[in-house]
């Protein structure tokens, strides 16, 4: 046992220095030089001030904006200092109630839309910070946004098209639209 304690302590200590101090510091050093924007959170700066991150979803409820994925974080939605999903099970009545509430909000904001609402707009994301929605889910909201902004719907649709990203490398993931970036572009449209 005594024979084992010295190597245990020394090897533990030395490998801790390598993997717990040198390794993260070296990666930070390289990252801050090679990818400063990404390493610091992909912030979006407007008039010299950070107004968000292109990777972190924000809460939109105003009819003139495209709304993103519902967020189940607390105490406020899209809390980027307390991430997480709803963890509601598939047969939990609270899940059905939450979905019904979100469907009702979409219907109230745009009574002209009578059809069902895209499922990703009424189900909470895993992180509570999902920055994106699918192109169809964005198009579904084009009419409401166009009415609220008093612009032709075709203009909103064209902007959604311009902000649609395909699958990464044509292979990975799903096509998507970054909600915050699209809404910033919509605000530019007005000006």
């Amino acid at each position: 046992m005594n024979l084992q304690l010295r190597p245990a302590l020394v090897i533990f200590g030395l490998l801790t220095i390598v993997t717990g101090i040198i390794y993260p510091l070296a990666v930070t050093g390289i990252a801050q030089v090679a990818f400063p924007n990404q390493a610091n959170g992909s912030l979006i700066i407007k008039d010299g001030k950070p107004i968000g991150s292109s990777l972190i979803g924000q809460n939109f409820t105003d009819p003139k904006y495209i709304w993103g994925r519902p967020s189940a974080t607390g105490p406020m939605p899209n809390n980027a200092a307390n991430s997480g999903g709803s963890n509601l099970g598939p047969t939990n009545p609270a899940l059905t109630d939450a979905v019904k509430g979100r469907v009702a909000a979409y219907k109230a904001a745009d009574p002209a839309q009578t059809g069902p609402v895209p499922v990703e707009l009424v189900t909470a994301s895993a992180s509570g910070l999902d920055p994106e929605i699918g192109p169809a889910a964005a198009m579904y909201q084009a009419h409401r946004v166009a009415v609220a902004r008093k612009v032709p719907e075709s203009q909103v649709r064209a902007l959604i098209d311009a902000h649609t990203q395909g699958r990464q490398w044509g292979l990975f993931g799903e096509p998507r639209v970054n909600v915050l970036e699209l809404n910033l572009a919509l605000d530019e449209l007005k000006a």
């Binding site: 090897i11 990404q38 107004i51 991430s83 999903g85 963890n87 598939p90 469907v103 699918g134 990975f172």
Partner: protein
């Protein structure tokens, strides 16, 4: 399955096998010990560091020991880690790199977390971004991600040596094995993956949390507090709520990418953030998601190839890999089908489709979420990119079932292969009983001692899972943590102990596990689920190494053909089914029937 689901699977397995083959050769090279003059890559760079380590530790790297000394060394090494990690969490309030000023972690949570990370489980009863300082995350949690992976690696290395050696008294030098696997295998791979993750958008900094001024103001409700910070209650005893409006969003920061790389490569799975690999700062793009899935299976797959090389017959490795791959493909098929078919309740509530997007991210969609869930639980990783608690009943049964099979389908770094080799011994034993011959595997006679150790290694985790789940559902403290009503609530508890005892770490995360009851009982399950398997496996390594190697005769059962693959799959499924079907019937299966009945 959709065409896309099949395409993604084929792409994943193709890239995996292509990368794992050369890595397997490299790992075998490292483990055998390097002849001087042939030093390449990281070895040449880091070899002087390795020599200094041994000098300071007073270790002669060429001096090998028997299994007992090897096991004791490994246990002492892990216990040192548990004590230090506990201490650091309790003291983090006084230490640097804590820009958010987080105070001491509570004793039961610190205990649970120390055990959790040391055992490669990475069960997290806490929300990292509101609990752990940067120092705790990098100096203890990142470090344990390396060490627990190295621990799994050296155990399987000792077991492979047991098969490969003849009439030998030793299984290796534990200090040299830990040092070499960490420096030459885990560290270089981590650097590469970490930098790619940052390039894609994972963060890596030591800044305080970043406030941003959002485009639209958010109004939300929070409990009204009095001057001392207690919630004010109305006449009925409910907390009174007040409306708050804010236009500030606080973005959690930290050295994420460096932890993320080893979190996946070491099949650890403990997230820097609560949302784990669903968080855009941990797993920003579909490409990083693909690489994270690859990182989980990379070393486990390479080890199977390394195993084939070290026992001198690559077909032995391929047979084991074939059994793993077949189980994996079927499990993925069920999971992706169930999530795609989805939840009919969504349509009746007014959504346009039943596809189960609750608890999933848009950039990953159904396919990459189901694939990730299958991979992370086939391996002992436990990272999640979608919330398993919100999966459909059958979609959630797949991750739970894979964990309960003992994570031998690829499995954890080291632990997957040693777990599967234990099943291989069981398979040849059953085959031996059927034909009436003394069983042998890879030229080693399997006798009473090996079968006793096999029985312990196979039964220790089911006993822990079933006993602990039984205790929790009987006690108020256990039932209090449940978030979802009905059968799903039982699944939450069952999943928690399956995950802990098998050192996975994923959760049906609605369960409120940060209580003294769950923190203590889960820690017990994690510790004994880890070392209750490792010690008998090392004992077997010692006993196998001492045996002679028999020649192959006409009566030897070949262990590289399709017949053996079927036998091996059969043994894994049989043990899993006998232990867990009653529990699964009470949870996910009942819930599935309830869901489709509506």
């Amino acid at each position: 399955m959709t065409t896309d689901a099949i395409l993604q699977l084929a792409l994943f397995l193709g890239v995996l096998f292509v990368l794992a083959w050369p890595l397997g050769a490299y790992i075998a090279h490292i483990i055998r010990g390097e002849p001087k003059g042939e030093q390449t890559g990281p070895i040449r760079l880091l070899a002087p560091i390795e020599r200094v380590f041994y000098k300071l530790a007073g270790v002669d790297a060429s001096e090998e020991t028997g299994w007992k000394s090897y096991a004791i060394g490994l246990l002492v090494f892990n216990l040192v880690g548990v004590v230090l990690t506990y201490a650091l969490q309790r003291l983090q309030g006084y230490l640097p790199l804590n820009p958010q000023g987080f105070g001491a972690v509570s004793p039961d949570l610190a205990f649970n977390t120390a055990i959790s990370f040391a055992t490669n489980t990475n069960w997290q009863s806490y929300t990292p971004e509101t609990t752990m300082s940067y120092l705790t995350q990098m100096l203890q949690l990142t470090v344990h991600n390396f060490f627990s992976a190295a621990t799994g690696l050296v155990v399987v290395v000792a077991l492979i040596r047991g098969f490969a050696r003849k009439s030998a008294g030793s299984v290796g030098n534990v200090w040299a094995d830990i040092t070499r696997t960490t420096l030459y295998i885990l560290l270089p791979l981590s650097v590469v993956f970490a930098l790619v993750f940052v390039g894609q958008g994972a963060i890596q900094n030591f800044k305080p949390y970043q406030d941003v001024h959002t485009v639209q103001a958010t109004t939300y409700q929070q409990p009204k507090l009095d001057k001392v910070g207690n919630a004010i209650k109305d006449a009925k005893g409910n907390p009174m709520l007040e409306d708050v409006t804010t236009q500030t969003q606080t973005l959690a920061m930290g050295p994420v990418a460096s932890q993320e790389a080893i979190k996946m490569l070491g099949t650890n799975g403990g997230g820097f953030f609560n949302a784990n690999s669903a968080h855009p700062y941990e797993n920003p793009t579909p490409l990083t998601n693909f690489l994270q899935m690859l990182a989980i299976f990379l070393i486990p797959t390479a080890l199977v190839f390394a195993f084939g090389r070290m026992v001198g017959d690559w077909r032995q490795g391929v047979a084991v890999l074939a059994a793993m791959t077949l189980i994996f493909v079927v499990a993925y098929g069920v999971c992706v089908w169930a999530e795609q078919a989805g939840n009919p309740a969504l349509v009746s509530a007014g959504a346009d489709s039943a596809i189960n997007m609750e608890g999933k991210e848009t950039r990953f969609g159904i396919t990459a979420s189901a694939l990730f869930a299958t991979i992370t639980t086939a391996a002992s990783c436990g990272a999640v990119n979608a919330m398993h608690d919100s999966f459909t009943p059958l979609g959630g049964l797949v991750p739970m079932g894979l964990i309960q099979l003992g994570e031998v389908v690829f499995g954890g770094v080291g632990s997957g292969l040693y777990g599967m080799l234990v099943y291989a011994i069981l398979a040849v034993f059953i085959a031996g009983l059927m034909v009436g011959r003394t069983p042998e595997y890879l030229g080693k006679k399997i006798e009473i001692f090996e079968m006793k150790m096999t029985a312990i290694a196979i039964l220790v985790t089911p006993i822990l899972v079933l006993a602990c789940t039984g205790i929790a559902v009987m006690l108020t403290a256990g039932k209090a943590g449940v978030a979802n009503p009905g059968a799903h609530g039982f699944s939450e508890i069952f999943y928690a102990f399956s995950s802990a005892a098998n050192n996975n770490g994923s959760a049906f995360a609605g369960l409120s596990a940060n209580t003294p009851f769950y923190n203590s009982l889960l820690a017990v399950a994690m510790w004994f689920g880890r070392f209750g398997v490792i010690v008998p496996v090392l004992a077997m390594a010692g006993s196998l190494a001492a045996k002679k190697r028999l020649n192959v005769t006409a009566g030897t059962l070949p262990t590289h053909g399709p017949l053996f693959v079927v036998l091996l799959i059969g043994s894994v499924m049989l043990v899993g089914a006998l232990n867990y079907i009653p529990g699964l019937a009470l949870g996910p299966i009942v819930e599935h029937l309830q869901m489709i009945a509506h």
